[in-house]
Each structure stands twice: as C-alpha cells, then as structure tokens.
Symmetry: D2
Subunit: 145 residues, 4 copies
Amino acid sequence: MNADQQVLAIARHLLEAEGTQWGIVIEEARLGYVRLGMVVRPDMTNGHGNAHGGMIFALADTAFAYACNARNEASVAASASIIFLAPARLGEDLVAEAREEALAGRSGAFSVLVRLRDGTPVAHYQGQSRKIGGPLINQGESNHG
Amino acid sequence: MNADQQVLAIARHLLEAEGTQWGIVIEEARLGYVRLGMVVRPDMTNGHGNAHGGMIFALADTAFAYACNARNEASVAASASIIFLAPARLGEDLVAEAREEALAGRSGAFSVLVRLRDGTPVAHYQGQSRKIGGPLINQGESNHG
Amino acid sequence: MNADQQVLAIARHLLEAEGTQWGIVIEEARLGYVRLGMVVRPDMTNGHGNAHGGMIFALADTAFAYACNARNEASVAASASIIFLAPARLGEDLVAEAREEALAGRSGAFSVLVRLRDGTPVAHYQGQSRKIGGPLINQGESNHG
Amino acid sequence: MNADQQVLAIARHLLEAEGTQWGIVIEEARLGYVRLGMVVRPDMTNGHGNAHGGMIFALADTAFAYACNARNEASVAASASIIFLAPARLGEDLVAEAREEALAGRSGAFSVLVRLRDGTPVAHYQGQSRKIGGPLINQGESNHG
C-alpha cells in the first residue's frame, strides 16, 4: 500500500467507524487532499428548507478529519471556523475539498471549500488539527480489511 | 406576548420547521439568552464513539440561530468559529447556552458555551449573524398557534 | 499578594516586556477578567483613516494574553477569530474586555469585546489558549519589584 | 493597465494611504494572489522576544485586504480567524501569501499562509470580505500617478 492508498484506507476506516449516517461518499483521497460528496436530505434541512449550517460544517469537518489523519497519526480538531457564502437547497449534491495548508509539530492547518456540484461556492472552512498519537490502521491493513 | 415570550415562540417555530431530528430541547429562551439540550445518540458519533464535532457545532449553531432571530427579524449565520475543549461521549446530555454579545447595524456577535450536564466544558462557539429582513412569526402569533 | 493582585502583576509584567509601543493601559485585571484601553493613533490607521483591523485584533489579542496567563502558568494563543462590527476612527479611545469562558486541561476559551468608550461595539474576539508551562513571575514578586 | 497591473496599483494605493509604518513590502500582486514581506522589528515583539500575535495577524490581514480589493470594488473584512503554528523571532523575514478561495455575491473567502522566508509555517489565516461598493482607484490610474 503506497502513501495515497493508505490515505484512502484511513478515510474508509474512519467513515465505517462513524455512527453518523449522512450518506457521505469518499470521491478522492490522497496525501494533502480529500474530496467528499453528500446530498442534502430532508433530515438535514433548517426551517427555510436549506441545508442546516450544522450539516454544511459537518461535511467540511469530516473532509478535514480524513485529511488530517492521512499520515496515520491519530489527530483531532482543536478548532475550526467557517464562512457561509450561499445556501444549499434540499436535494443539492455538495462537494467538499479538503487541503493540507501547513504542518508544524503536533499542529496542522487545513482548509475545506464546500461547493454545489456545478461549482457554486457554499462555504469555506478552516480547521486546526492536533496530533494525539497512535496509528489509526495497521500499516499493512488493506482497505477491505 | 411579551419580548421574552416571543423569543420562545420564535425558537419553537424554528425548531418545528427544521427537518433535522436531533432531539434538541429548548430549555430556556429569552432576549439575549437561549439554552438548549441534546443527548448524544449513536447516530451522532465519530469513529471513536464520541460526539462528532459536526454535531457539537450543529447544537451550538442551533442555539445561536434561535438567539440571533430573537427579535423577529430573520437572520442567518455569516460565519462561525468553534474551539473544541473536550470530547463528549455517547449518551451524554449536552447543554448549549447562547448569549448575545453585541449588535451593530445588520450584524451581530454571539457566543455559545457547550457543556456536559455536570458543567464540564466541551466547546466554545462564536457566531456572526446577519439580518436578511422580514419577520419569522406574526407579532401576535402564540407559540401554540 | 492575593489571586487578583497576581493577575495585575502578571499583566504589568507582560506589558513591560513587550517591544510594541501601542500605548495600552491596563484598566482592570482580576481572575477571569481583564480590561484594557488604547487610543487609535495616526500610526494605527488604514487607508480610510480608521483603526487598522490588525490593530483592533492586536488590542483584543493583548487582553486575551493577559487573561489567559492570569494563573501564572505561561500560555500562548493557539488560534483566534474576530468579528468586525463597526469601524473605529482616528483618536477614538478603545476598550477591550477579556473574559475567561472555559478551561479544560491545557486549553482555554476566552472572549474579548472591543468597544468605543461610549459602549459602541467595534469587534468581538474569541481566543484559544494553550498552556506551555512555567511561571511568568515569581509567586512572591511584587508588581514594583 | 491590465487586470494584474490594476491589482498592483490598488495594493500600492492602499499601502501608501495607511498610517501604519510596518515596513510591509508588496512582493507580488495579481488577480487572486498577493504576497507581502515584513521583517519582525523590536517594536513588534511580545514579552518573549517573538513577533506579537497581533503583528502576525496584521500582516496576514493586510495581504487579505489587498487581495479582496483587487477587483477595484471597495471591500472590508467582516471576520477573520487565525491558527498560530510556530513563533517568529525578532529579525525574521515573514512572507504572507493571500489567495482568493471563493466569491459569492458581496461576500468572499480568502486564505493567507504566513511563513518564514525559508518556508517554515508561522500562521494560517482565513478572512471573510464584504463589498461596500465604490472604486478604490480610477480605472485608468497608473501606479505612479
């Protein structure tokens, strides 16, 4: 398993271990970059029939989590911020692209751009990671267990 | 309906209109202050069996939404940031307290402290509101109307 | 020296050790609360003749620094966010009030409200502290020592 | 004057209009990207002899300001967040690179990476811009006019 295959294996491992059932799809995962997809379902809407800000954040946060754990050193979010640019309506297919911006010691900075499938920006997220140590998967573990 | 009753009516109106089924309970709602409760369910957990950061944010964001709409002028989140202080485990009863910190023109600043029921801090959230105009409920609407 | 006197001694110690010459005045400092004052000088303005956003942040960040070091355990800013509510003009007397919102292990969450002297809100800041260890002053050190 | 020349002219115009004397150098400015340099002077240090967090923010905020005004539509910062990754010592030459991440209506999202000249990351900044309208320079204005 090379470095990029390991990133995908870690992302799949994390997604399978989550109790959340948000229908998140891992579209691409390599060192420094993770792209996820998620359709806005009726149980994700706010009172205006748009995606709840909490769900847009949750999608971005998930992309960030997979990106900051990509080196197989368990990491968590220490802080995050999000700019909401435009609403996403019920049924829209959201795409979240996470990028590793910088690493320094146990900390890291990541950004996530959330857009509609046609490219319309929805939100921009910034996440601060902190390594807590320990591997997430065995180095030789395949993504099919 | 006085000002504080109206805040509660608006919070109930917003909660009922949401498609999300997070089991959020409105514990208190008055001008400048909203307190919500939410129990961490299995479908809210990350791969470690703790509350997903996205769900902690979603709870805080919801408290913020009710607080920033309290004057019956429709408002949305323009940006938000969150500091994660400690994990919340499956089954924990989370409490989120939103406070209005400052208003200026169409913008507002709010903070939300999320804690376990015993007072242990979980996260601190800061939200920026922006008025988009229009009432949320009729001025005379009762909260059972 | 009691706990509140120590907070003031630490704030003075930090202010004196800074190379910055921003004219910051410590107006009040006790456990959980620090208030600073700073007048917007010509060398603090942006191209519109208002206080540069960087200087408003710097004032809030300084109040946060004094508040998060108040227990005499050296702490630094890990992250911060700021909402700009209104401009502050040349000559205005800014007041920044920092509050400790929550502590958890080595991390802390603080908020700072920056206002004009007449109470008009200018900005709201959220800071995440991280203890790096070691005292800032000797426990018995007087603030004139 | 083409689009990229206009970005440089606007950045120079803003820098000249500022009252701050931080020794900021515009190293590159084109649509979607601005790079600035600034040396950490004695009057920019905190009590540890490192660059004050407020000054690191101020540099990033300035790069953001030039990037979000690049289309000659006056814009201001509505909010910003920063992750501090490592200290910068007295005398270090800081480089800040601002990137336009997304635009939507009157709002925009920008990121700024601050590093030492050797590439070591110091901080990662996220800024939210808001158009307030009006041009900054005459369309035909030269950058030496």
